[in-house]
């Protein structure tokens, strides 16, 4: 039988919430530090 959209559990296949900023990655922290060092306003 044909498998329709959403039929398969996609939970472990595609990630959609990678873009929310609830967790600060190591990269983000370094970026923040770099901006601060360069004299930019940091909120």
């Amino acid at each position: 039988a044909e498998r329709a959209e959403g039929e398969e559990d996609d939970v472990n296949v595609w990630e959609d919430n990678w873009d929310d900023e609830t967790h600060e990655s190591e990269f983000s922290k370094q970026l923040k530090e770099e901006l601060r060092k360069s004299g930019h306003q940091v909120a």
């Binding site: 398969e8 472990n12 296949v13 990630e15 959609d16 873009d19 983000s28 970026l31 770099e34 901006l35």
Partner: protein, 208 residues
């Protein structure tokens, strides 16, 4: 095949999977991402679970398409299908880390070229710029962001060949493709972003 009406139901599933695989590949190269996603996803879902190597072939095209639409493959998926070449590409795009993305593309260049997706993956730089700039604007925390702050971020990730004009060009393209809501002030050398949802989710942008 799409115009054959009810006859379509009589085709073998294997033929329908193969048809959708090639249709999706063609759509990807024609930059019709929505059709590419639909076709390749159909092929991937309906390909029997025991044909790992065929499912892997489908994924090689489905992954870049999905990434453009804002859906990132999980690390387990990549590992399961022996597609670990994508791991650092995905990590770089997710973090807005252009150095990591460029490094991953260079390291696996031969593999990606063989698959015919190298140029496609290079276009992910645009999404990566968007995510890096999103981070910068969140760190700066105001609606008016000096372009200089973006330059600092680019230098930080090892991108040194982008001058102010090129930076404005990149941002203008991101605004034109609705990935950033705002406008550039060339006179003040600033990007002014919308107070509401200035960096819409990629999956939201592409479905419009």
């Amino acid at each position: 095949i799409d115009n054959c009406g009810s006859l379509y139901h009589d085709f073998l599933m294997s033929d329908k999977v193969a048809y959708n695989y090639f249709l999706g590949r063609k759509a990807m190269f024609d930059a019709d991402l929505n059709l590419a996603e639909k076709s390749l996803l159909y092929a991937f879902r309906n390909c029997p679970a025991d044909s790992m190597s065929n499912k892997r072939k489908i994924l090689i095209y489905l992954i870049p398409v999905k990434m453009f639409l804002g859906h990132m493959p999980t690390s387990q998926l990549l590992h399961e299908y022996r597609l670990d070449e994508f791991q650092d590409v995905v990590a770089g795009v997710k973090d807005g880390n252009l150095a990591q993305l460029d490094g991953a593309l260079a390291a696996n260049e031969a593999f990606f070229i063989k698959c015919g997706i190298f140029l496609m993956l290079e276009k992910l730089r645009m999404i990566t710029f968007r995510t890096l700039f999103k981070k910068v604007s969140q760190i700066v925390g105001t609606a008016q962001i000096p372009l200089d702050a973006f330059q600092t971020a680019l230098r930080f990730v090892g991108v040194t060949d982008v001058d102010m004009d090129e930076l404005e060009c990149i941002i203008a393209n991101l605004i034109a493709s609705k990935k950033i809501k705002g406008y550039l002030s060339h006179q003040h050398q600033k990007l002014v972003i919308s107070k509401m949802n200035a960096f819409p989710t990629l999956s939201g942008v592409s479905s419009n």
